[in-house]
Amino acid sequence: MSMNEHTLKFFGEELGQLKAEVARMGGVAEAQVADAIEAIARRDVALAEDVVGRDRRLDGMQHDIEKKAIRIISLRQPVAQDLRRTVSALKMSSILERTGDYAKNIAKRGLIIADAEPLSALTRSIERMGRLVSGRLKDALDAYTNAELDRAMDVWRNDEEVDEHYNSLFRELLTYMIGDPRMINACAHLLFVAKNLERIGDYATNIAEIVHYEVTGEEIVGDRPKWSGVSGPVEPEL
């Protein structure tokens, strides 16, 4: 009996440890995204190089979390909420790793853009969108670390804001490219930066979905609020 209690307590600690490691990984991913945006906004080559170099750390963290989660599943065979917490940690680590990849990609494009003529108006728009996305990532991670359903649902509901920023930036970039073909190269890179930011925003929404699943055991039902009609860039279905 006492043996059993001991095992249970120890198991709880293991799960706590897993969550702590995901939270720390989230902090690194958050910083990578923020630094990548700043590198673009300030044309900071050294910072962009740092971001590219630090991406390995996230890969290592994901690997560790995966190993621990798989160990828990195979040795402890968790059920109900314990299983959900373990699976959520697995999902989170893979989302955060990909978030880091997008940050790295943004930083790499920052290195290229820094060589071109400054496009202050455009980089300001990118910075605005970047701040919005950073804020959503922060809110989603706050919701995850404190298992706050309300906060997660707020992130989930306000997804449209990022999409609309992306659509608006898309149009702005097209206008610039049509107006001055010499800018096409830099603008194309900024377009990918905007797309990467939009993806990171989607990941924040995914994190909110994971929090909902972890806390309630159910998927979110219903549709996210979306605009009626289509006027943004049309994307091919995957």
Binding site: E21, T145, N146, R151, D154
Partner: protein
């Protein structure tokens, strides 16, 4: 017992040895049964005072005070009186007297800077780093809900975590800056310092934060202001210079042309003055954006006041107003009255400006809404289904479960805007194509000002629009508890203002 005050180590005595010696004694004292007894007494004393402080934090706070006492014991000068807090005599344990500990705990609790005490076990064990004490500021800032919370749930920034680790495991103090992102950006200077171990925790670190948002904002505002002012004033200035040259040149003797040019010039000068006013006002608002407003303001009354002031413009355009306001006192919100009036003024001013001649502007104030109902779309709103239309949040507040909101909605019945413009409306100087600033005479800062003021007031802001179906701007702000307690709003003021004679 003679008062023997000495703040500097005596050059004749081996000061370093003495210090070490005392430290050794402190540690033995902490480990000795007497120490444990004293610790218990201290904890009991603090818990007895739990009427003032949150009990679950008091234990951690007492430990922090003890730890600080141990640290301070080496340094603080010896005092003669019996109430001296710290003593250097070897047989006196260097700790504040138990009956004073609660005062020290309270002092830390009330300190304006966030203070945290972090403990750790193994270096590898990230879940072993716990917040064993956090004062009121730190608990609010980092949303720490219980003693012993995981450090990573409060702070995730990798640089900061690294600095705390260096204090815990390398005994290295550090100073660094930390930026809290999100809707309300804050900049912090953070000190991390190692603390000597105590009976319960083998490794301890102190984290102290200082808010440097003001300084950072000041720097950024100055740069932004200069950039914006120089850029935006260049165009009207160029036109003024052009007219002056024309007046000196071929228009010198043409009285009609001179009159016309002078009229245009005076309009340009007025616009420049308005631009500078708006820029200055935006800078001031942004500087205080992270400081919560005190005071209260009635939204319905603010609308009525602004409408009175706008009467001449309303009359000139023959705009009809449809009002649906809750009675005064029913929609009282927490806020700076001047700033709220400025928000209402900017929204109503825009609505009158963009409404067609003889059109209808609808203004409504509703109360006691949850976040969900304040942001809900109206199913009967044609803009939800019109092509290229919809609803766009421009600012969404952090959720505050207890808050009830009062909502102001201003619908201009004007030309409306396509959706691609909506997310950018609060950008400084953003212009919707086809709406020339000259004929509208705006500065391009009005909605930016609205957004920053509403953000300061923990409120939200959104727009609903569709081409040819007008634009409706809505702001919602947390109500005062006094106003929330009003069960029923009084009679609504539903009125239709007819334009007065121009």
């Amino acid at each position: 017992m003679l008062p023997q005050v000495s703040t500097l180590p005596n050059p004749q005595s081996p000061a370093a040895d003495q210090g070490l010696d005392e430290r050794g004694r402190v540690l033995t004292w902490l480990k000795s049964p007497l120490g444990v007894a004293l610790l218990a007494a201290v904890l009991l004393g603090v818990l007895a005072a739990a009427g003032r402080a949150d009990p679950q934090w008091s234990a951690g706070a007492a430990l922090l005070v003890l730890a600080l006492g141990v640290g301070a014991g080496w340094r603080l000068e010896r005092r003669s009186s019996a109430t001296a807090a710290f003593r250097l005599r070897p047989d006196d344990p260097p700790t504040p007297p138990p009956d004073e500990v609660q005062t020290y705990v309270l002092a830390l609790e009330l300190a304006p800077n966030p203070v945290l005490l972090v403990s750790a076990e193994d270096a590898d064990d990230i879940a072993g780093r716990r917040v064993v004490f956090a004062n009121a500021e730190a608990r609010e800032l980092l949303r720490i809900e219980r003693e012993g919370a995981l450090l990573v749930t409060a702070l995730r920034d990798p640089d900061l975590l690294e600095a705390i680790d260096e204090a815990l495991f390398g005994h290295i103090p550090q100073v660094l800056s930390y930026e809290a992102r999100g809707a309300q950006e804050r900049f912090w200077r953070v000190w991390t310092k190692p603390l000597p171990p105590n009976a319960r925790h083998a490794r301890l670190a102190l984290v102290i934060m200082r808010d440097e948002t003001d300084t950072r904002r000041n720097e950024r505002m100055r740069a932004d202001f200069l950039a914006n002012a120089s850029h935006e004033l260049r165009t009207p200035l160029a036109s003024l210079t052009g007219f002056i040259e024309t007046l000196r040149g071929h228009a010198r003797d043409d009285a009609t042309a001179r009159e016309r040019f002078l009229l245009i010039m005076s309009r340009q000068a007025e616009r420049m003055a308005r631009l500078i006013d708006d820029l200055l006002s935006l800078s001031r608002i942004e500087l205080n954006e992270h400081i919560r407003p005190g005071g209260h303001c009635d939204l319905s009354l603010a609308v009525a006041d602004v409408l009175d002031a706008l009467a001449p413009q309303i009359a000139v355009k023959h705009v009809r107003l449809e009002l649906d306001l809750v009675s005064s006192g029913a929609a009282e919100i927490v806020g700076d009255r001047d700033q709220i009036v400025q928000v209402v003024q900017n929204l109503l001013d825009n609505a009158v400006k963009y409404a067609p001649d003889g059109g209808v502007v609808r203004v409504s104030v509703t109360r006691d809404l949850t976040l969900e109902s304040a942001t809900a779309s109206r199913p009967d709103d044609v803009r939800q289904i019109a092509p290229g239309g919809g609803r766009m949040p421009l600012l969404t507040p952090a959720r505050n479960g207890a808050a009830r909101y009062a909502l102001l909605r201003v619908d201009d019945g004007g030309p409306g805007m396509a959706r691609e413009h909506l997310p950018r409306l609060t950008e400084r100087f953003y212009r919707v194509e086809g709406q020339k600033s000259g004929e509208r005479s705006g500065t391009g800062l009005g909605l930016a000002i609205v957004k920053h003021i509403v953000n300061r007031h923990m409120g939200g802001f959104y727009v609903e629009s569709a081409p040819d179906h007008g634009a409706a701007f809505s702001i919602y702000l947390p109500m005062t508890s006094r106003s929330m307690q009003l069960a029923e709003a009084g009679p609504r003021v539903a009125a239709s203002h007819e334009p007065r004679a121009a």
